[in-house]
């Protein structure tokens, strides 16, 4: 099958033959997914019982792992669909449609949840509607789709501006992108009150801009605007102020302080894990003490269960995966591909860094998932899709670094100066 698919593509830079993709991306991802399944299997009974206790539901101990397993299956399917079936170029051609669907889904959610209050298919908490409820299937978070839409759209859009040499053109490039991000921020941060997802979205865009070669001054201005906006976000929401003040108190923050409860328990979970952890199934913090133990706080539970060694291993997996993605950026000729891969890097890196830093008390708390490890289908589905795209793109690398990039250089450089299409398999 691989041979039959082998073909030659042309790009603006020249001829790059399609070759084997970078399987390490798949391997690191799979290892992380399996670790995620293991941890959810391990704390599933505790979670189920905590929920049964407080809501009178009747979930079995296997409920969460079965659900997560299903999510993984769906994610694997989506990975392979985007890795092998749907061509990136096709996606790029329909980038506007993909983005529109994302925005439309968010708009529909806002309409149904915030204005019309159709409670049957929306799930709201404290005025923030983040999920569609699809009866019989589960929940769906349109913001994740929007992320994917922005990734593809901006990839195509910025690439076309790059080709036209208009990347630093305020009117033609910056303002449209800013408007798009403003709309996305309106839905995700303001209406859905989901700062974490919003930050990840901006991380995607920033990564893309950095790779696109935007002028430094412009970049600084953009960053300053974003920082100001972020500060505004924090000041306007009381719970965010609480989280920041809690963060500033650091390790001295009291456990009894309600706003400090979450982070204090995350630190207790991580700290009590010690060097080698308490072992699988022995997590106590998952038994109701640590909020969101299975979703956003899963890193802390991993720390409790597997200890320092386990966490370093997991971080190493993420690090290697991210380096692998970063390596691709340097070796891709086509701007679209470079931008998309950079966006995915920003996506995953922002999730990992923000989540882990928050759990260890290095950053204020925001609700953001840890890719592949947190319980939750939508997030995993679209990260898998994005990685599928990256996997597909990894077939079109060359052996030289395309550009000496001071900001995002990697040390894993190979001095082979020939395009990779020269490699040939003999079997």
């Amino acid at each position: 099958m691989r041979d039959s698919l082998r073909q030659v593509r042309t790009s603006a830079q020249g001829l790059v033959r399609r070759h084997n993709p970078d399987h390490r991306i798949m391997m690191y991802t799979l290892i992380l997914v399996i670790v995620g399944l293991i941890i959810i299997f391990a704390i599933g009974p505790q979670r189920a019982n905590v929920l049964n206790e407080s809501f009178g539901s009747n979930l079995s101990g296997m409920y969460f792992v079965i659900k997560q397993g299903t999510s993984v299956m769906i994610a694997v399917v989506s990975f392979f669909v985007f890795a092998y079936l749907l061509k990136v170029d096709v996606l790029l051609r329909h980038k506007a449609i993909i983005l529109s669907i994302g925005i439309a889904a968010c708009a529909l959610l806002a309409l149904l949840g915030n204005l019309v209050h159709v409670e049957a298919i929306t799930q709201c908490a404290l005025g923030a509607c983040r999920w569609f409820v699809l009866p019989g299937i589960g929940t769906f978070q349109p913001a994740e789709f929007l992320k994917f839409g922005i990734l593809i759209f901006l990839g195509g859009f910025l690439a076309s501006r790059m080709r036209a040499g208009l990347i630093n053109d305020t009117e033609k490039t910056i303002i449209p992108a800013a408007v798009l991000m403003g709309v996305a921020a309106l839905f995700v941060i303001v209406l859905q009150k989901d700062l974490g997802t919003g930050i990840a979205m901006f991380a995607i865009v920033i990564s893309m801009f950095v790779v696109s070669g935007v002028k430094k001054q412009l970049g600084v201005i953009l960053l300053a605007v974003l920082l100001a906006a972020g500060l505004l976000m924090i000041i306007t929401a009381p719970h965010r102020i609480d989280r920041v003040t809690t963060f500033l108190k650091g390790d001295e923050a009291s456990i009894d302080d309600p706003s400090g409860y979450h982070i204090a328990h995350a630190k207790i979970a991580i700290g009590s894990g010690g060097i080698d952890g308490v072992g699988i199934g022995n997590s106590v913090q998952a038994a109701g003490y640590l909020p969101e133990a299975i979703n956003d706080s899963v890193f802390a539970i991993l720390g409790e269960t597997f200890g320092f060694i386990g966490l370093v291993f997991i971080l190493a997996m993420f690090y290697l995966l991210l380096l692998r993605i970063l390596r691709l950026v340097d070796r891709l000729e086509k701007p679209e591909y470079r931008l998309i891969v950079a966006g995915v890097f920003g996506w995953i890196a922002s999730h990992v860094v923000i989540n882990v830093a928050a759990m260890t008390g290095l950053m204020p708390l925001t609700g953001i998932t840890l890719p592949f490890l947190s319980f939750g289908g939508t997030s995993m589905l679209f990260i898998a899709a994005a990685l599928g795209v990256v996997f597909q793109i990894s077939r079109y690398t060359v052996h030289t670094q395309i550009k000496e990039d001071a900001d995002e250089g990697t040390r894993s450089r190979r001095g082979v100066g020939r395009p990779r299409y020269a490699s040939r398999r003999s079997r």
């Binding site: 399987h23 391997m27 799979l30 399996i34 391990a42 009974p45 699988i280 038994a287 079997r427």
Partner: protein
């Protein structure tokens, strides 16, 4: 799967995993691509993990079963005690004396043995 040694010395870049290794090479008759390798490694980790888990993780759910059973035992004990109290009330002298059966009885004579 058995490996047979072949005499072929392949170019180093034929293997995507081990470049710079221009040494003797074993070629398997069963061709396993990197995808299969990855999946196999992952499956092995999964299987190992599951074996470990079945040993380690069972106890947590038993705790809740035990706690649940404890609660049921308590509930049944309470119900049993309630029934015993009810039984004691119904067979207490006061209720026995006031029962319909007792009212229908005649006063016994103490001179029965004369």
């Amino acid at each position: 799967m058995s490996y047979t040694r072949t005499a072929t010395y392949a170019a180093r870049r034929q293997q995507s995993w081990g470049r710079n290794q221009n040494t003797a090479r074993f070629v398997s008759p069963v061709k396993l691509g990197p995808v299969m390798h990855t999946i196999l490694v992952a499956l092995m980790i999964l299987v190992l993990g599951l074996i470990y888990l079945t040993q380690a993780s069972g106890s947590a759910s038993y705790d809740y079963q035990a706690s649940d059973l404890d609660r049921k035992i308590n509930e049944l004990a309470t119900k049993k005690a309630d029934l015993e109290v009810e039984n004691a009330r119904l067979s207490s002298l006061e209720s026995v004396k006031n029962s319909d059966v007792a009212k229908a009885m005649t006063q016994p004579s103490t001179e029965y043995v004369r």
